[in-house]
Amino acid sequence: MPVKAIPKVSIARNGVGTLVVPCNKIQIQYCNWGGSSQGVRDLLTNGQLNNFASNNKNIFIEVIKKSGHPTATFHYSNKDKVNEIDIKNLKFNEVLKKINEYSQRSGNELFKWNHKVLSINQSTRGIWSPMHEAKSDRYKI
């Protein structure tokens, strides 16, 4: 065999070709009695959550009734990440804002990127090399 092959797995590039939104499931847990769940209860009764659900059909929304402070749990398909947040004592529009915000994330840890562009491609131009200058222009040691 002249050449052997090294097995590789292709690298995912979400957003190239098509985009699959990473957030696939939201669990909203609320209490039917406690005051801290008032916002969530309002959200459920005034139909705003239904609106959100019909606008985001790609997200499976599960509403759980359980005593205690309300929480929202976001499941991301990105490495099975789960993010649970507190939504106690929030007004319904604030809860909706939270849901909107977290459903647009990818599930990655928050990180401040100091590089503006992240690339896994090889550089198009390559690296500058002093060895390729014309011989007369080369620096002599």
Binding site: M1, P2, V3, K4, A5, I6, P7, K8, V9, S10, I11, A12, R13, N14, V16, G17, T18, V20, V21, P22, N24, K25, K57, N58, I59, F60, I61, H75, S77, N78, D80, I120, N121, Q122, S129, M131, H132, K135, R138, I141
Partner: protein, 365 residues
């Protein structure tokens, strides 16, 4: 004429008469899965094949009620024509629970994927050596990558047993949107952290230190089946687009897939194959000086006065080898373009015109 099962096939492993001769070395013929009890009227009446073991399709109205299925359908941006029941069937690998399973869809999807991935590679990288070509296909549509794809689509595996579902009062419809590959007995298996018990399928796939888990195979199978389902409902064009969007849009680094054992000899043979009459010479182009603290050499591979490749190294030998390897890579990873500088068309494109090259195969050394 009804033939029960297909066990009566004469062409099995031992002496079969065909073209008047006996096969000394056995020719293995595909065996049917007796589980399905397939029957047919005529062996070549393809429409008449039917699995007689009782299975039924999930009614479309039921499937549309399953929130997980609706979410997956919308997440993948599947056309309305794509039935939810087919999607649910694509996620079912279990054959003995009465619901239609994904065997056929999987086969269909696998063939579609194989064709389109191969076509892409054969046209875009016509000179890839066969081992690398096979590995590249694996990189795009092997179990590991399809598992990742399935995961990224947010497909959930069904891992809770019937009892657990009953106890947690889970909606029965949710089950139809999950990936079903474990039988109930396997679900309730006690597991210990750090210890994996391989089942029959998994122990068959052991290679070195690795095995294909039945979970990843199940995910891969569901991805293939979803593609197969797309073909049945929306035709080949949309299946092709789906494959390009989801599978071929992923990145494979071909440069790092080569392992050369005798690069210089290989290059000589290739030049011979290409009928390059002048001999190869590997020559130094530049150096920082032998006595410099970190010497660097730049070497080129030349045929006549054409440069095939260039390598940089900290010793002359290293730079020579790198130069040869780089010229081999530049040969193998060649991509043809058409006369106006655009990527060439593929055979499955409309208005196809042959503009690329046909790979001429590898040389033996």
């Amino acid at each position: 004429m009804m033939i029960k099962g297909l066990t009566s096939i004469k062409l099995s492993s031992t002496s079969t008469r065909c073209i008047g001769r006996t096969f000394a070395r056995s020719y293995q013929v595909a065996q049917p899965d007796p589980f399905f009890k397939t029957e047919y009227d005529e062996i070549d009446n393809y429409g008449s094949y039917k699995n007689t073991r009782f299975t039924h399709k999930l009614p479309e109205t039921t499937a549309q009620q399953s929130p997980l299925l609706v979410a997956l359908h919308s997440r993948l941006n599947l056309p309305n024509k794509y039935e939810h029941s087919t999607l649910s069937q694509a996620l079912n690998l279990i054959k003995n629970e009465g619901l239609a399973n994904n065997f056929g869809l999987n086969t269909l999807g696998k063939n579609l994927l194989t064709y389109y991935v191969s076509e892409y590679l054969l046209m875009r990288y016509p000179r890839l050596p066969i081992p690398v070509f096979n590995e590249a296909i694996n990189a795009y549509m092997g179990v590991d990558s399809l598992y990742e794809v399935g995961k990224s689509w947010g497909i959930e595996a069904d891992v809770t047993s019937k009892l657990d579902k009953h106890l947690s009062q889970e909606n029965e419809l949710l089950k139809y949107g999950r990936l079903r590959f474990l039988e109930d007995s396997e679900k309730s298996k006690i597991t210990e952290d750090g210890i994996v018990e391989l089942n029959e399928y998994e122990s068959r796939t052991i290679q070195g230190n690795k095995f294909i888990s039945s979970e990843s195979e199940a995910y891969a199978s569901s991805v293939r089946s979803i593609i197969g389902g797309l073909y049945t409902h929306c035709g080949e064009e949309s299946a092709k687009k789906f494959i390009y969007d989801h599978i071929l849009s992923r990145k494979v680094e071909f440069e790092s897939m080569f392992q050369f054992s005798k690069p210089t000899r290989e290059l000589t043979r290739i030049c011979e194959k290409l009928n390059l009459t002048e001999p190869i010479s590997v020559r130094l182009i530049a150096e920082t000086g032998r006595l410099s603290s970190h010497a660097i050499y730049v070497t080129g591979v030349f045929v006549g006065n054409q440069k095939l490749g260039e390598g940089v190294g900290s010793s002359i030998n290293e730079s020579k080898t790198r130069a040869v390897v780089n010229s081999l890579l530049s040969y193998y990873l060649y991509t043809p373009i058409d006369e106006s500088g655009n990527p060439i068309k593929l055979p499955s494109d409309v208005n196809y015109k042959f503009e690329g090259i046909v790979g001429e195969g590898d040389v033996a050394i």
